[in-house]
Every structure is written in structure tokens, then in C-alpha cells.
């Protein structure tokens, strides 16, 4: 063991220097949480996958504009048949790559697939490990409210969500302006940008709380992935089947990601009638389910803030 330097003085005197406000601890916890996640290789792999979807939209948008400008009325021969080029791109209609509100809503929808896995991994790493390895004790022994601990961790998760949804969607919005009508596009579609912000904020709030709650319940990555797959995949399939069979849109309320999508579409100001697939529940019902989930998560976290450290 190395000898301690006893010559240095760290004499006790009541702390004279100015201290920061206690809530600055939120940023400190958020920072260190992000650093912890960034050190994991899996995180970079998942982020790369998320970026793939972004680049698909980025180049897809460019391709659509370029093809429409250059070859819109031209035909190509496929297996002896003449096919209009614009017909060939019909499969991309589902993505609506024209810089409309649907483009960004669809982009965020597709990001959801990778985001769910990313959050499972981050949640178990940030909250689960603190419980499993008992590192919570270091946070709780410091002069911060347990709420600051949760807010700090949620801040890191919000950062991840913003990085995979809001920032790329905003880049797509700027790209669409550059490719389409320039300034006219920006002035006519500034509400779309607000819609992106609103949808991303809603996803960030809901998913950070849901991640915190489920990570504290399941703690480890594998059970958390299973739980989230149940919530976002199994329930979705079931909701879809029930809605198609009964033609009752309210069954889709079981699909939580769809509820967030509907709330996002409301933020974009999209007419309910244009939403596909049909039938879909009403916006109000989707908001109600999201609100209910947020409330349940906050209640659970409230309970956890009164947690005692036994180990």
C-alpha cells in the first residue's frame, strides 16, 4: 500500500466557500450516468443501429426529391415491361418522405424499435446496477434529495431519447427545407418543428419514467427486455389483431407505442382521419392512457424515494 502523504493539509473548517444549489446534483448524476453508459460497447452498437434508421430517412428524402426532379416521367424496363420510375417508389409512400409532419412522425415511430432496446439496456445499467451492486448508498449518503437522484438518472435517459429522436428529426426537417422550397418550407412548416419537439418531449418524459420504474422492478437487463417486449411487441400484436377483428379502434389503446404515436400526431396537428392503419382510438383516449402510465410511474418512484438502504 502506498504511503499516505501526511504533509498535506486538509484541515477541517466548516465549508466556507459558496456551494452550488442542491439541484445541480441532478446534472452531476446525469453526467456520470451518461459516462457509465458510453463506456459500454453495446451502447455504441445500438446507437449505430439507431443512426442507420436516421441515414435511411436522410438519404431516402434526398433520393425522393432527386428522382422526382430528374426522372419523374421516365420509364425503365423491368422483365420486359415498361414501368414508370415514380411507380417504383410507391413502396416508400408508407414512410412519407416528403418533409411532411407524417415524415417525422414515421421516423420517430421507426426509431422506437431500437430505442426500446437501448432503454432496456440503459435502464438496467443505470438503475438496476445501483440496486444490485448497492451503489445507491453513495448517492443517498450525500446531501441530496432522493428526487435529485431519480431526476439525474432520468436526465441521462432523456438525453439518449433526444439524441435518437429529436436531434435527427430536426436534422431531417432542415434537410427537407434545403431540398424543397428553402425558406418558404421553413416558414410554412415551423409548426412541424414544434410538433417534433412536442412528440420528442412526450416520449422523453414517458419513456424515462417508464424506464426508471421498470428498471427498479426488474433490475437486470434480460427480465427488463422481456417485460418491454411484452409491453411493446406482444401487446401491440394483440391490440392490432383485436382492433382488426372487432373493428374497434379502442383496442389499440393496449399498444403503448401507438398511444405515444397518436399523441405525437396530435402534436403535429395531423387530422385523425388520415391516420393509418384504421381503426384508431381517439386522441383523447391515447392521451388518457399515457397520462395514466405517467401517473403510475410517478407514484412508484414516489414510493422509492422513501426507500431505506438496508444493505
Amino acid at each position: 500500500m502506498k504511503g499516505m502523504n501526511t504533509q498535506l493539509s486538509l484541515k477541517y473548517s466548516p465549508w466556507q466557500e459558496k456551494t452550488s444549489r442542491p439541484y445541480t446534483a441532478i446534472a452531476a448524476i446525469g453526467r456520470i450516468s451518461l459516462l457509465l453508459i458510453c463506456r459500454q460497447r453495446l451502447f455504441w452498437g445500438l446507437l449505430a443501429l439507431a443512426m442507420l434508421a436516421f441515414f435511411f430517412f436522410l438519404y431516402g428524402q434526398y433520393l425522393m426529391v432527386w428522382i422526382n426532379l430528374q426522372f419523374a416521367h421516365e420509364t425503365v424496363r423491368i422483365a420486359g415491361f415498361s414501368v414508370n420510375i415514380s411507380q417504383l417508389l410507391r413502396f416508400l409512400d408508407r414512410l412519407a418522405l416528403q418533409g411532411t409532419a407524417h415524415t417525422y412522425a414515421n421516423f420517430i415511430w421507426f426509431q422506437g424499435y431500437i430505442l426500446v432496446i437501448l432503454l432496456c439496456f440503459s435502464g438496467s445499467h443505470l438503475f438496476g446496477n445501483d440496486i444490485i451492486y448497492n451503489t445507491m448508498i453513495f448517492y443517498y449518503s450525500k446531501p441530496i434529495s432522493p428526487w435529485y437522484y431519480f431526476c439525474g438518472k432520468c436526465l441521462a435517459i432523456i438525453f439518449l431519447i433526444v439524441m435518437t429522436t429529436f436531434i435527427p428529426a430536426t436534422i431531417l426537417w432542415f434537410e427537407a427545407g434545403l431540398l424543397l422550397d428553402g425558406l418558404t418550407y421553413y416558414t410554412q412548416n415551423y409548426l412541424v418543428l414544434l410538433g417534433i419537439a412536442g412528440y420528442s418531449a412526450l416520449i422523453a418524459l414517458t419513456l424515462s419514467l417508464l424506464t426508471a420504474t421498470t428498471a427498479m422492478i426488474f433490475q437486470r437487463t434480460a427480465p427488463m427486455v422481456l417485460a418491454w417486449m411484452g409491453l411493446f411487441v406482444l401487446l401491440r400484436m394483440m391490440a392490432n389483431w383485436l382492433a382488426m377483428t372487432t373493428q374497434e379502434g379502442d383496442w389499440r389503446l393496449l399498444d403503448f407505442w401507438n398511444n405515444l404515436y397518436l399523441c405525437g400526431l396530435w402534436c403535429f396537428g395531423i387530422d385523425h382521419a388520415t391516420i393509418r392503419p384504421i381503426p384508431q382510438p381517439h386522441y383523447n383516449n391515447a392521451f388518457l392512457v399515457v397520462f395514466l402510465i405517467i401517473t403510475l410511474c410517478i407514484l412508484y418512484i414516489c414510493k422509492q424515494t422513501r426507500l431505506e438502504i438496508y444493505r
Binding site: M4, N5, L10, R31, Y133, I137, S141
Partner: protein, 318 residues
């Protein structure tokens, strides 16, 4: 606030389900170093976690400088070093201590400086940039100590800080604790080894089965224990004849005996005594001059066993 004791336990009890971990503890601490001693399961860690505001008392109150310890604001006055060896292993020591400094509200630049100073003092400067998973047990203990010390709290609560450290490291830490005390920090240090704590302080708080068995200087505690009634079981071949001798001794308060059964050739005496030191001295002398066939002498009461074990410096068995 200056007149307030630094730490105060007022009739504190703590239950974990059906287990009573701490039982009506009342204790006041103003300043200095106090050693918290007790066997495993005596309630030391519960006591310290209540003091650090990590646990909430089921009954009673714990106060730090007059404020409820459960209130997070009161933790500004304390640094807590847990006994558990749990870390964010991916982090470097420096990063860990820096984050903890930031959580204490120390501004960025000052936190960097303070982290550096604290690590330097603990002799960890050269290794501070390495991830914690590469640290030895002693280094991990020091890092835990550094995070408790980084914001210079008046009260340091150290749960088994010397556990698993080699003698040289132990000596260094004890020296550091003395320095910290001289500089004005107050320390509560737990250990289950009285000998180790004796090098650090002569003020101890002895916990046994969740109760404060004794508090004060070791000398005072020895004196208190001298009058503490103890039950001793003596297994002897002819208990009735042996009891005739014992009854004349001033330390003996009462005797119960059972005659040897047909199967067993020996009987058992349950002797209630006071001033156990004198009793055992007299017993030793008596047996040296009068050979009796005694196969076993042991304290019956577990708490007594522990008290004797710690205070008399043995296992408790005589």
C-alpha cells in the same frame, strides 16, 4: 446550533420485519472519536445507517446538530463510509470522488481541486485515474474514505474502515484518523475488534443485541462491568460439595444445581455472580490449591459472553 450535540439518538428502536435490530438506544455525541464495538449482528451497521440518515427509526429520533437525520439537508454535516465493498467499477477513483464532491454541492473547479487534495492526502494520486476494478481492497477502502472526506464534513461515520486492510495500511489509517480528529473532525468508527479501536480511542460505545451495553471510556466500562451480574455454568463431578465452597465467596449471589444423573457422572452448577474478574481470579486460585474435577466453566448469557469477550479481551469463554 452550536450548543446542539453533533449526533443524538433519542429512544431509538429499529425493526426489520420481526427482527429488532436496535432497541431503545439513547446516546449523545458531541465531538472527538468514538469507537463503536459489537459482535456481528449486534446492530452496529444499523446504528451507523440511522446516524447517516439511510434508515429511518421505527421509534424514537435521530438528530444531527438538532435536525432530523432522515432529512437529506442534515447530511451536509456528515461523511459516510459504508462497509459494503460496492462501486461503480468502470469509473476511475478520481472521477468517483469528483462526482461525490459535486453531489455535496461543491462547484466544479473547487470540486476538482478538493478531489485532488483528498486523493493526495490518502496517497492515491498516482492511481486515481485507473478504473476502480483494478484497485486492491485497501485502495478501495481509501477511495470510500476519500468520498466521505471530500467535502470536509464535521462528522465522519466510518463503518468498518479497517476491515480487510493489512497491518501497515491499518497503522496509516489510524494515524490519519488521529490527524482528522486533531483537525476538528469528529469520528464514529465501527469495528468488531476492540484491540484495533483501542489504538484509536479510549471512548467506546458497546452494542450488544441491539442495545447499548456500555458507553464511555474503556476503564469506565470495565468498572461498570465489575458489578454486572453474570451467570456462569460450571460442570463438576460433585456439585453439592463444590457449591458449599462457592456459597462462602462474596462475589456469588445465588447458586442452582442439578445432581449428576445415572448416565452422566457430572452435575451442573448455575452460579449467579457479580464482579466477574474477582470471581474468576478467586476460582483460579482455589482450583490451584484444591484440585476439583471440573470439566467446563462458561458464561451462560450470550450478551454477557460478548461483553466479557470484548472487554476482557478473549472469546468470552473462561
Amino acid at each position: 446550533m452550536k450548543d446542539q450535540p453533533l449526533l443524538q439518538f433519542i429512544d431509538v428502536s429499529k425493526w426489520f420485519g420481526r427482527v429488532l435490530a436496535l432497541n431503545q438506544v439513547t446516546w449523545t455525541f458531541h465531538r472527538g472519536i468514538v469507537g463503536l464495538v459489537g459482535a456481528n449482528g449486534a446492530g452496529k451497521s444499523t446504528f451507523l445507517r440511522l446516524a447517516a440518515g439511510l434508515l429511518r427509526p421505527t421509534l424514537g429520533e435521530v438528530k444531527i446538530a438538532g435536525r432530523d437525520a432522515w432529512d437529506w439537508r442534515s447530511r451536509r454535516l456528515l461523511g459516510y463510509c459504508p462497509s459494503t465493498d460496492s462501486f461503480f467499477y468502470d469509473q476511475s477513483g478520481e472521477e468517483f470522488v469528483y462526482t461525490m464532491a459535486r453531489l455535496c454541492g461543491i462547484p466544479r473547479r473547487t470540486a476538482r481541486k478538493q478531489t485532488e487534495l483528498t486523493l493526495q492526502r490518502l496517497g492515491l494520486s498516482d492511481l486515481a485515474h485507473r478504473p476502480i476494478y483494478g484497485y486492491s481492497k485497501g485502495m478501495r477502502q481509501k477511495i470510500k474514505l476519500a468520498q466521505a472526506l471530500v467535502h470536509q464534513p464535521p462528522l465522519l461515520i466510518l463503518d468498518e474502515p479497517l476491515a480487510g486492510i493489512d497491518p501497515v495500511g491499518r497503522h496509516e489509517l489510524i494515524k490519519l484518523f488521529h490527524q482528522l480528529s486533531q483537525e476538528g473532525h469528529s469520528l464514529i468508527v465501527s469495528s468488531h475488534e476492540l484491540q484495533t479501536l483501542e489504538q484509536l480511542t479510549d471512548h467506546i460505545l458497546l452494542l450488544s443485541h441491539g442495545r447499548v451495553a456500555a458507553a464511555g471510556t474503556i476503564r469506565e466500562i470495565r468498572r461498570q462491568l465489575a458489578d454486572y451480574p453474570v451467570t456462569v455454568r460450571i460442570t463438576v463431578s460433585s456439585p453439592r460439595a463444590f457449591a458449599r465452597h462457592l456459597v462462602e465467596w462474596p462475589e456469588v449471589i445465588a447458586i442452582e444445581w442439578s445432581e449428576p444423573s445415572r448416565q452422566a457422572s457430572r452435575g451442573t452448577l448455575l452460579v449467579r455472580i457479580q464482579q466477574p474478574n474477582e470471581f474468576f481470579q478467586r476460582l483460579t486460585q482455589f482450583l490451584a490449591h484444591n484440585p476439583w474435577n471440573i470439566s467446563r466453566v462458561e458464561p451462560v448469557d450470550d450478551s454477557t459472553h460478548e461483553l466479557l469477550g470484548y472487554i476482557l479481551g478473549g472469546s468470552g469463554k473462561t
